[in-house]
Amino acid sequence: MVTLIDYGVGNIFAFQNVYKRLNIATKIAKKWQDLVNAEKLILPGVGSFDYAMSQLNASGMRDILDELVIKEKVPVIGICVGMQMMGNRSDEGKLQGLKWIDADILKFDEILIKHRTKLPHMGWNDVTPVVENSLFTGLEKDAIFYFLHSYYFKCNNPSHIIAISDYGISFSSAVNYKNIYGIQFHPEKSHQYGEKLLYNFAKL
């Protein structure tokens, strides 16, 4: 059972549909009571960092999430802004992050991006695993994923990086620390590749 955290930010239904096709049960959590006994957590996110953080803070689910993730070590994956929220802070806003992984969210440096189009980083890009991780099991070398963001996740501890992508610089597009996972791209909108990754997460 995969629990989708619905705090009014991000596309819950798209995840639900992927798992329906995979025959994996899901549950939507809108309040803290829905999170009790969760086995796997997905923290989606779109939009601006502060808006997403303030929505999560206001949802009443923040405390139990800290408890589940930090104390009970329930596997959790943050997606796009959901990943960024797991860090300490963001160039995009003023609010503090969840601080589950030691990372800062920085804006891409436009000067380093060589083509005419600068930001956002929008479209399909390569994701190259740098270590063996069950999240990428069965994903061939040519796996590409859909990105839509202007800020990136800068790990303060490089050993947390599990995959990298290039956009002006090489940045961490997937991270893992203990039971905590984060991916910058959108697996729910990345066809067979994303489906495989979400399957892998459900089977962790």
Binding site: G8, N11, I12, F13, A14, N17, V18, V46, G47, S48, Y51, V81, E92, E110, H115, R116, T117, K118, L119, P120, H121, M122, G123, W124, N125, D126, K141, D142, I144, Y146, F147, L148, H149, S150, D166, Y167, H186, E188, K189, H191, Q192, G194, E195
Partner: protein
């Protein structure tokens, strides 16, 4: 490497899909939900839907239909048509749309871009400019399915929209729409000089070669087409089609096989 995006652009009219020529003569081409299913199978980069009724009839976006499209889609979706407020935009994002396209509402109130971007982030706010050549040279923005001239110069306006927080600009050529004779490079050149946010061009593709020409010239860009992906053959039989990953890699010159020289 970031790929250029190849994007089918689909028009919603009376709950069905249509394709126009120069924004006129809508021809029914099928059911939108079914089209999403087929494009899923074809692993399309992105899909764009434009409701061509909402603004001209001054009605709300069809939230029920949008939700169905979003739920079916395994690729990023852009929706445009009749969006005039932050509340509407927020509601549509909640249905699972990645990008919202604004057009006529911005002519009245360009700051709407900033308001929506503050809520959802710039990356998800798209502007569609329907552009037509002027009789004596130059270009002008039109709204209401090409019926209303605005007197606004698309090049200056693009720059302004970028500064106001637009995440992408879709440039749609009314003159090239449905004609299938290639994109208007003069128009694309002039817009691309003005902005550094992503740009998608629409209007005129008659073959994959037309798309290749755009990519060869501009590199990382969105290339969108309507007729090309819904019609086949000289008599325009309705048949949804899209290049395969292998075909795309070939003309993007991406070689994933390590063994090949």
């Amino acid at each position: 490497m970031l790929r250029p995006r190849i994007i089918p652009s689909l028009l919603l009219h009376h709950k069905g899909l249509v394709k126009t020529i120069n924004f006129k003569f809508p021809k029914y081409v099928g059911d939108p939900i079914n089209a999403v299913r087929i494009f899923n199978e074809k692993e399309v980069d992105e899909l764009a839907f434009f409701d061509i009724d909402a603004t001209v009839q001054n009605i709300e976006p069809d939230y029920v239909l949008i939700e169905k499209l979003a739920n079916q889609s395994r690729m990023p979706l852009c929706y445009g048509g009749g969006v005039k407020s932050v509340e509407q935009a927020h509601r549509i994002f909640g249905l699972g749309i990645e990008k919202i396209a604004l057009s006529s509402a911005l002519i009245q109130n360009p700051k709407l871009i900033t308001q929506i971007a503050n809520r959802v982030g710039s990356q998800s706010v798209i502007v569609v400019l329907d552009v037509k050549k002027k009789l004596l040279g130059g270009y002008e923005i039109y709204t209401h399915n090409g019926k209303k001239a605005t007197g606004i110069n698309p090049f200056k306006f693009s720059k302004e929209l970028e500064q106001l927080g637009a995440g992408e600009i879709i440039v749609n050529s009314i003159d090239q729409d449905g004609v299938m004779k290639g994109y208007d490079f003069n128009l694309i050149d002039k817009i691309s000089e003005k902005i550094s946010i992503p740009m998608t061009v629409l209007g005129g593709a008659g073959s994959i070669a037309d798309i290749e020409k755009v990519i060869n010239r501009y590199g990382v860009i969105g290339v969108s087409a309507g007729s090309l992906f819904v019609f086949k053959g000289p008599y325009k039989a309705v048949l949804i089609n899209y290049p395969t990953q292998t075909e795309k890699n070939k003309f993007l010159k991406i070689n994933n096989s390590e063994n090949t020289e």
